[in-house]
């Protein structure tokens, strides 16, 4: 029997008892259902299949092979100084060899079309920390960041919870494949102004989560022009940049800046992480790359609250400075993700379900609006419930991503084996067939 808490517990802060951590949304309720009845090929074949977790499990063998042949990455070599030096290293500048490796890795992902200076790389324990940190630096409590919808549900916590900063949505819809338009940007800005809220910046995710698509060059140019006109910041969360299925299709904001000789670039900050591209969320590796000296200095100092374990920095410095490894990894990872994506798109299409045309990420943006009883959020949640409890698939409803159109769902495909994906697709197929039969029965 749940205990009602009517007022803040004696002695805790408002932040501690607020719900801005967002953990009561359906996004997390689905996880709960999965935890209680998780699918297992052998021991629980009728359990819930987790398709709400954007993890990349398709390329671990490459990482494991590297570790097998490069034991120096996970050990400290012979002689006294290796271990102790590493164990003592808590400098918030971060290990130089790791920063260099990170900068070079980011360049490789962008096909060498942009350059990154290791001195501008600030390390944080994950992109979650990087986004919060940037928000602390760029905005005061009560100020706002503009974020295009649909967006990653975690932003509600990461950008707002402890910072006191607000999110004002830039509404995007399916009429133009959810692309950001200058009108939508202006509308969001005006909305904030009308509420007397000071806008400090725009935060985009490119490639987008949950859309699974890269932002086009022309749109990036428009966004950059917008922030320059309004004299505000631009944060580009590029944590999925290594998961673009075809290298040439990803344009980073860094490329836009270089094409303009870095004019006005001091308002731009890029967030990156190894959680998605390398599949290492447990190691907590995030970075902020800022073109603004003051932001770099301040972010570095603030990173004291969220440093990366020096043991992990050492491991990844070794891995990412090996060009042979990284080139092969990036290429192979891309191919495997593309193959998975094609598999799920085909599977869904043959079940009569269409998705947004995607070219990146670990998920697809599925359109189930034709299935809604009512074209409302309630209708969407009812459908989500069916998917969870009848079809036994945990997928993410668009409303948890603040999507303005009901009926869209984010479906992950890289956090399971091919066999499990087949099972999931079969279940969807059966579900759709049954619906069709039921509809036909009703008609008769």
């Amino acid at each position: 029997m749940a205990i009602e808490i009517e007022q803040p517990s004696v002695g805790l802060s408002k932040v501690a008892v607020s719900e801005t951590h967002g953990e009561d949304s359906p996004y997390f309720a689905g996880w709960k259902a999965y935890d209680e009845n998780p699918y297992d090929e052998l021991t629980n074949p009728s359990g819930v299949i987790q398709m709400g977790l954007a993890e990349n499990q398709v390329s671990f063998d490459l990482l494991e092979a590297f570790l097998e042949t490069h034991s120096e990455a996970s050990s400290w070599g012979k002689g006294a100084s290796g271990f102790r030096e590493n164990a003592l290293f808590q400098d918030y500048h971060g290990l130089l060899s790791f920063r260099k490796a990170m900068a070079s890795f980011m360049e490789q992902i962008r096909g060498g079309r942009a350059k990154f200076d290791p001195e501008r790389v600030v390390l944080t324990a994950g992109a979650t920390a990087a986004n919060e940190l940037l928000t602390f630096i760029l905005a005061d409590p009560g100020d706002a960041l503009l974020v295009p919808t649909p967006y990653y549900p975690g932003f509600d916590r990461d950008l707002r919870w402890r910072t006191g900063v607000k999110i004002v949505p830039i509404h995007c819809d399916s009429s133009n494949n959810f692309q950001i338009t200058p009108q939508a940007l202006e509308a969001a800005y005006s909305e904030a102004e009308a509420m007397n809220i000071k806008v400090r910046g725009v935060l985009i995710t490119n490639p987008s989560n949950p859309l699974g698509a890269t932002i086009q060059r022309s749109v990036l140019e428009e966004i950059f022009d917008f922030v320059t006109r309004k004299n505000i910041h631009l944060v580009s969360d590029e944590i999925y940049s290594g998961s673009v299925f075809s290298s040439s299709e990803f344009i980073s904001i860094a490329e836009i800046l270089e094409a303009r000789q870095n004019k006005n670039s001091e308002r731009v900050h890029i967030v990156y992480s190894l959680s998605k591209d390398l599949g290492l969320p447990g190691f907590r590796v995030g970075t902020i790359y800022s073109y603004n000296d003051e932001v770099v200095t301040t972010a570095r100092r603030m990173s004291s609250f969220t440093l990366i374990s020096s043991q992990t920095q050492h491991l990844l410095a070794s891995m990412l400075s090996n060009k042979e490894f990284t080139e092969n990894y990036i290429k192979t990872n891309r191919e495997r993700l593309r193959k998975r994506y094609n598999m799920i798109i085909e599977g869904l299409r043959s079940a009569g379900i269409e998705c947004l045309k995607g070219n990146a990420g670990l998920f697809c943006w599925m359109n189930l609006s034709p299935l809604l009883e009512k074209p409302t959020r309630e209708g969407e949640l009812a459908l989500w419930n069916s998917m969870l409890h009848e079809v036994k698939l945990n997928i993410s409803p668009g409303s948890s991503c603040h999507c303005s159109e009901p009926g869209w769902f984010r479906v992950c495909f890289a956090n399971m084996s091919e066999q499990t994906l087949e099972v999931a697709l079969k279940r969807i197929h059966n579900f759709m067939e049954k619906r069709e039969r039921d509809r036909n029965l009703k008609v008769i």
């Binding site: 919060e132 308002r267 609250f305 374990s309």
Partner: protein, 470 residues
């Protein structure tokens, strides 16, 4: 260009204080036995470098954990994907058992009440976010760790109000001082949410006495506020009266399951006890479920690497290792501290009697030109630039009395410590001879002036050490 937030541009990160300036000078001219023997010796860094050989030996004998293996099988994938903010169960279990072992198993801890964070720096800030609103205050006894000004205040907006402690009673916390601090906060219109103590103390190197702990518990009970006990140096206690954790005192007072039980929180870390600051291992321990719940979610912003959690779960689960490490580490710290204390004594410098920590709280008041902080800064600059020792001036620790300095002893070799002591001895002799200190005009001093330095050196040599060739 729209500028940055107030937080970004204000000075609360404290990075311009002398604490950090000394570090800067050291970076420009660092001592090296071979390459730069005249460089500045770093004595401002509270690191424990005395027991790495024990860790290295263990790693050599147990190569699996660092190699992501368990019983011959690779668990790389499992670890790489593990980002659950509840932490690796095996690690939390090993950590609470280690904490209990350090406390002589007089108290036990429940892993479900522990929250892992990327270092104690993160733990302390997280607790502030959980327990206080911007503009509210925590009381801290002075002198305190300079980093608190950043860790507790910067992004949280929380204020620190000092509990003034003085040498008149060896800097112990008194009821009068507590009440005075509380009153000062009220005068400043600041709502007090709690008291934060460091036990053992940084920079004092002393453990809190049972009576001080009892006093604190009574105080927070009366005021209805929190108590945070930062116990990151608990494993560095090397002599009597021994370490008493606030949990023990609560237990002795039968406070379990009472209201005050929920308002006491402990911060822990492996940075000092195990000498692993780079691995970012911190923890919050609280009896309050809501604090644990909120802090757990907040830890998303500063999680420990699963790679490191796994390695340390193996290390700390080895009870043979931990038993030996704890006692051997303490022995070595005791020896080192004694070396510094005796060395300073021979230079006519006394320290606060200490039984813990990686540093001594050194009394150089007699070397000040005047009883002021200006004179303390003057002396400190001489020590950094002329004597070439980076030590921490008491003012950076908010000490109310000028003339005290924190001097670290565990972050260097014995030889380097010897050299540092020698340099200080030479300085004191010269300093006194040249009339820089207050007590200057005695006949004893003028006699010293007539004797060459080498004679004075010989007359005060420690019996246990070889002649000083430098």
């Amino acid at each position: 260009m729209r500028h940055l937030s107030t937080k970004a541009t204000c000075n609360s990160h404290g990075q311009d204080s002398s604490y950090f300036l000394g570090w800067e000078e050291y970076e420009k001219n660092p001592y090296d036995e071979v390459q730069n023997p005249k460089g500045i010796i770093q004595m401002g860094l509270a690191e424990n470098q005395l027991s790495f050989d024990l860790l290295e030996l263990w790693l050599e004998k147990n190569p699996e954990p660092a190699g992501f293996k368990r019983d011959g099988k690779s668990i790389f994938r499992e670890l790489a994907l593990f980002q659950d903010y509840h932490g690796l169960p095996a690690f939390k279990k090993a950590l609470v058992e280690f904490m209990a072992e350090i406390r002589g198993n007089r108290v036990s801890f429940d892993p479900n009440h522990m929250v892992l964070t990327a270092g104690a720096t993160s733990a302390n800030e997280t607790l502030m976010f959980c327990l206080a609103e911007p503009g509210e205050a925590f009381l801290l006894p002075t002198p305190y760790y300079p980093g608190f000004d950043r860790d507790l205040k910067w992004r949280t907006g929380v204020e620190i109000v000092p509990i003034h402690c003085t040498s008149s009673n060896d800097f112990q916390i008194t009821e009068t001082a507590l009440e005075a601090a509380y009153h000062e906060a009220q005068q400043r219109n600041l709502r007090v949410k709690g008291v934060l103590v460091t036990n053992p103390s940084n920079p004092l190197g002393t453990t809190l006495s049972r009576s001080e702990l009892n006093l604190l518990i009574s105080f927070i009970t009366t005021k209805g506020i929190h108590l945070i006990s930062d116990e990151i140096y608990s494993g560095t206690v090397f002599s009597s009266p021994g370490f008493v954790s606030v949990m023990e005192v609560l237990k002795d007072r039968n406070c379990d399951e009472t209201e005050v039980w929920d308002r006491v929180h402990i911060v822990n870390s492996l940075s000092k006890d195990l000498g692993l600051p780079g691995f970012r291992v911190g923890a919050i321990y609280s009896n309050d479920d809501m604090v644990v719940a909120a802090a757990t979610k907040m830890s998303s912003f500063g999680l420990m690497s699963s790679q490191t959690q796994y390695l340390l779960s193996a290390l700390l689960s080895d009870k043979k290792f931990t038993k030996n490490y704890i006692s051997e580490n303490q022995k070595r710290l005791k020896k080192r501290q004694n070396m510094l204390v005796m060395g300073l004594k021979r230079a006519g410098i006394s320290c606060l009697k200490s039984n813990a920590g990686l540093f001594c709280w050194v009394n150089m008041r007699h070397l000040l030109r005047s009883d002021t902080f200006e004179a303390e800064m003057e002396l400190w600059k001489k020590i950094v630039y002329d004597v070439r020792l980076n030590i921490s001036p008491g003012s950076s620790c908010h000490c109310t009395e000028p003339g005290w300095f924190r001097v670290c002893f565990a972050n260097m070799t014995e030889e380097t410590l010897d050299l540092a002591i020698q340099r200080l001895k030479d300085f004191v002799v010269e300093h006194t001879a040249n009339g820089h200190s207050k007590s200057n005009n005695s006949s004893k001093n003028s006699k010293r002036k007539l004797l060459p330095k080498w004679v004075l050196r010989l007359s005060s040599r420690d019996r246990d050490h070889e002649p000083d060739e430098r």
